[in-house]
């Protein structure tokens, strides 16, 4: 423990500060933004070299909440990896959970019944709404508009109530099972989703009216942190941040999973890739998600909510207490005693922030030999240091919230 990181970055900047002498006698300064700055919405640090209020150079330090998920996964049966995935992008945990189950089901060759697929789509789209609501309303807070945030957060709360009805948890959901869902849509859940679909559009419309055309908000966002499509692709951008730059790449369209091909929806794209476009794309995606949920609810197929795979799907709890066979299967599955082929699979889903990929190498044992998460935040956050160059400090804050960098996903 000889030297801390911050100091070495400052040393690098010390040279630059010495070299440059401004005519008016002012000099460059170093600003430590983070790791626990309230405006960064997560634990990441940026050491900025500033000329007055303008950023000249930046250096990110990440890893403050690195929990070694990839290493932990190498020691855990598949069932125990889901709780790890929902701690990545904790604003849209169900998407992560479903992405993981879809990967495992692909490996094991499990065919999921239509009804379960539709319920998953509903949950994933609710998660996308929750994720984008957080991002956009916080962006408004960062530009000084608090009301919209408090208003739409009521509806994030309603989404969490639906999660609660489906899996018992709110934030870190651990939802779903190998081969389907752990329970069917209950009457309460059904009613809550219907109420949400009825009430939310009016509220969200009002939020848009409050914020989108607000002069101050527009001035703070337009032409701030623009990134070209070529650059964004080279930096590995996916999701709303890439679509804001004008590329219509969406995993739901490219490689449909969980019956996304059954739904009619648009992929909104922006033009300039700046903060305002990112905001607009997320807003438009919320409307599309509402549309998808509506369709899924209207066309919800009847049938079982999980595949008939006793080797992988936990038996009902009542049976476990009454029935020897069920108890044995319960024990086997919980201990990871399931037949697993030797194979490698890559599967990706459209997460809240882009392509969320799972690369699983299985050697036939009960734990993955190697599990790699393609975490969109980790991949695109590296562009941040380049994007902030030449901008004002206050713009950097706005850019950071519009990129929607989630610390859990960044550090895994």
């Amino acid at each position: 423990m000889s030297e801390i990181v911050v100091k070495s970055i400052e040393d690098k900047y010390a040279e630059l500060i010495k070299q440059r002498e401004n005519a008016d006698g002012s000099e460059l300064s170093i600003l430590n933004l983070g790791p626990v700055h309230p405006a960064t919405h997560g634990i990441f640090q940026n050491v900025l070299l500033m000329d007055g209020e303008r950023i000249i150079e930046a250096e990110s330090t990440i890893g403050y909440i690195h929990r070694a998920f990839e290493k932990i996964s190498e020691n855990r049966p598949f069932y125990q990896i889901t709780p790890l995935t929902d701690r990545m992008n904790y604003c849209s945990s169900p998407i992560n959970n479903m992405g993981w189950w879809l990967t495992v089901e692909k490996l094991l060759g499990i065919e999921v019944p239509k009804r379960a697929q539709y319920i998953r789509v509903i949950m994933m789209e609710l998660a996308r709404i929750a994720d984008h609501l957080v991002c956009n309303s916080i962006l408004a807070v960062d530009t000084g508009a608090f009301t919209g945030f408090l208003y739409v957060f009521q509806y994030r709360e309603k989404i969490y109530e639906i999660y609660e009805e489906m899996c018992g948890a709110r934030l870190t959901t651990n939802m779903g099972r190998m081969g389907g869902m752990e329970r069917d849509l209950s009457d309460t859940a059904y009613r809550k989703i219907r109420t949400f679909l009825k009430e939310f559009p009016a509220v969200f419309k009002e939020f848009e009216e409050l914020v989108s055309r607000n002069r101050i908000f527009m001035d703070r966002c337009i032409n701030v942190g623009a990134i070209s499509a070529e650059k964004a692709m080279s930096y590995g951008f996916t999701g709303p941040n890439l679509r804001a730059a004008g590329v219509d790449y969406d995993v739901r369209i490219m490689n449909p999973y969980s019956s996304y091909q059954d739904f009619e929806f648009d992929v909104p794209v922006g033009k300039s890739g700046d903060t305002y476009d990112r905001y607009c794309v997320r807003n438009a995606e919320i409307w599309q998600s509402v549309k998808i949920i509506q369709q899924a609810m209207d066309n919800l197929p009847s049938g079982p909510y999980h595949a008939d795979v006793p080797d992988y799907y936990l038996p009902p709890k009542e049976d476990v207490y009454q029935n020897m066979e069920a108890l044995i299967y319960h024990f086997k599955i919980v201990m990871g005693e399931i037949p697993v082929p030797k194979a490698e699979v890559y599967h990706s889903v459209e997460g809240g922030n882009g392509e969320l990929g799972f690369y699983l190498i299985s050697d036939g044992s009960r734990v993955p030999y190697r599990l790699h998460f393609r975490r969109p935040c980790f991949i695109y956050y590296q562009a941040f240091t380049e994007m902030v160059k030449g901008h004002l400090l206050s713009d950097a804050i706005v850019m950071l919230s519009s990129l929607n960098v989630i610390a859990g996903e960044l550090d895994a």
Partner: protein, 177 residues
Amino acid sequence: MSLTNEIVKQKVEEKFGESVKAFTEADFGLLTFEVDRAKAIDLMQFLRDDETLRFNFLTTMCGVHYPDNEIERQFAVVYHMHNWLDNVRIRFKAFLNGENPEVESATRVFLTANWMEREGYDFYGINFIGHPDLRRILNMDEMVSFPMRKQFPLEDGGRTDKDDRYFGREPQNSNLN
């Protein structure tokens, strides 16, 4: 005419000959192959720049450790690329030396490789030659080991209560049932 795995394979073999091998589509049609480590980044550039192949996106890359392999194949770097125009994905692997794992950096082809390679270095100690800033990224700078290598077990190796044999199972699960 859309791009198929056969065309990719043919093109790549034509250009790289002996350096590419072990083609398979075992992962649900995803073309997977191995490439000599010396040619890995040339291959990536070829895949990106060739007019038919157009693999414009480096989806992800990661390291893997295979301590039981022969010395020349103890580490692997796995690259996933995606052609968005024809919607074709591929995966290729470069196996590295176990004593001295090094491979050329992909940063000259894709900017996104920067942090991915730093992660590969941080977790496995793979040396990416030509990387502009190869430092640890997620772990602290003072760390001396490369934690994702298999010689660092997560739990105390002396623990016996989690021995698989107590549960009456073979080391391999694939033959179960």
